[in-house]
């Protein structure tokens, strides 16, 4: 699949974060994703089952664990993949979500306030750990899961 294939889905094309989502499927420098890659990305959205938690504690963490779901969301914000969400990156994502409806100053103050609240080590950027802390009360499993009907 190429990026154009995804963009032909109208409901995805009108999603303000459509491009970021499509990007998540493609690895660095690649323009095509095969079925395996497609499945790996979609696997993040499997609902978390209770009986999986006790299985296989020693193996690699499944893709749909809470931590991996959060990591996926973190990567949507982290545009340059440096494991930090800087003020600029946050601004860019915000700009994608609001379009032209909010001024630069307002958007800037929203970004500043958000970073200030979440930033704990004072580096004016959000690391993954800080990201997790902010969202600890959010029901990530429910919001980032898609259930298939039988």
């Amino acid at each position: 699949l190429s990026r154009e294939d995804f963009q032909r889905i109208p409901e995805l094309a009108i999603n303000p974060l459509g491009d970021r989502i499509i990007n998540a499927f493609f690895s660095e420098g690649e323009d095509q994703v095969n079925f395996r890659g497609f499945m790996r990305t979609l696997a993040h959205f499997r609902p978390i089952e209770d009986n999986e938690k006790s299985k296989d504690q020693n193996g690699p963490e499944p893709l749909n664990s809470r931590s991996n779901k959060l990591h996926f969301a973190f990567r949507l914000y982290d545009l340059d993949k440096d494991d930090k969400i800087s003020r600029d990156e946050l601004l860019q994502v915000l700009r994608m979500m609001v379009g032209v409806n909010i001024s630069d100053e307002q958007l800037g103050s929203i970004a500043d306030r958000t970073i200030q609240e979440a930033d704990q080590d004072g580096d004016s950027a959000i690391s993954f750990a800080e990201f997790v802390k902010v969202l600890e009360k959010v029901d990530v499993e429910q919001k980032m899961s898609i259930r298939f009907l039988h």
Binding site: L12, L17, A73
Partner: protein, 367 residues
Amino acid sequence: SQGIIERDETTMEKEIAGLHRVDFEFSDIFYFCRKGFEAIVEDEVTQRFSSEELVSWNLLTRTNVNFHYVSLRLTVVWVVGVVVRYCFLLPLRFTLAAIGITSMIVGTTVVGQLPNSSVKSYLSELVHLTCSRILVRALSGTIHYHNKENKPRKGGICVANHTSPIDAIILTNDGCYAMVGQVHGGLMGVIQRATVKACPHVWFERSEVKDRHLVTKRLREHVADKSKLPILIFPEGTCINNTSVMMFKKGSFEIGGTIYPVAIKYDPQFGDAFWNSSKYNIVSYLLRIMTSWAIVCNVWYMPPMVRKEGEDAVQFANRVRSAIAQQGGLTELPWDGGLKRAKVKDTFREEQQKNYSKMLVRNGSIG
């Protein structure tokens, strides 16, 4: 129709604005993210541009997408079916179609030589009806017409949902219409040129189609003449797979006059009538149609509608569309059929962005 995933129908408002808050939060992204992935797994639109999936197999290979090898007996039955369809039905139908098309061309040319008079109209109707009936037989069409008292009258506009080029023949089987369409080359062009001599069809040159005002003007002139046959228009603009009705183009509804809506629903068990023009050209499409079991469909004529006071063309179009969808048991989609080939307009995305911004500003104490 059953979906394959459980869709979360929480609106943007409820999910984002309902919970907190000051203004923006990192979790806002989850809403858009999930919506995006739901769309990737299964979306409403792209599935309308390919044939409907059947619940149980009808012994045609083309609908065999989801069914696997079951038993030897079934395979034998299927082979018999293939033999019957290709060696027996196909030649028969092909011959009939050839007879039908030839008589249409010859008949309309002959009638076209006559001077305009009531005799000419009568003969032209006769020729059109007869040839239409032959062609429908050529496709093994079984059509049930409902509510014939609502059949479109002269000076009106007949509006129907579009599934395939056959729609026109199915309707002309029961009455005479003035067709509207682009001028084609080849055999189609020959038919068009012949029929227009006998009956006032409205064929446009490709260059003229782009000029909407010219189109509207010609149609308006046609409708104003009450002695002229009702115009047949398919406002979706493209073939949809008969499970839903997509956006109606408002051009047809701006002309004025009385609209006679017609709903056409094919029975997919006997044959798939949908023309997937990006996958099949017209010849292979006709071949598929002629090697199906039959074309079985229901046609409902509906009571005439006129534009109400204060209703604009778009609202009127939507009202007619709802009526057709309800009658035919089809779902309504607000999307444009043109999305089959073109990209979606940016205005929809901008609308989503606007909604989200409103939430930020409303809840927030922004500087």
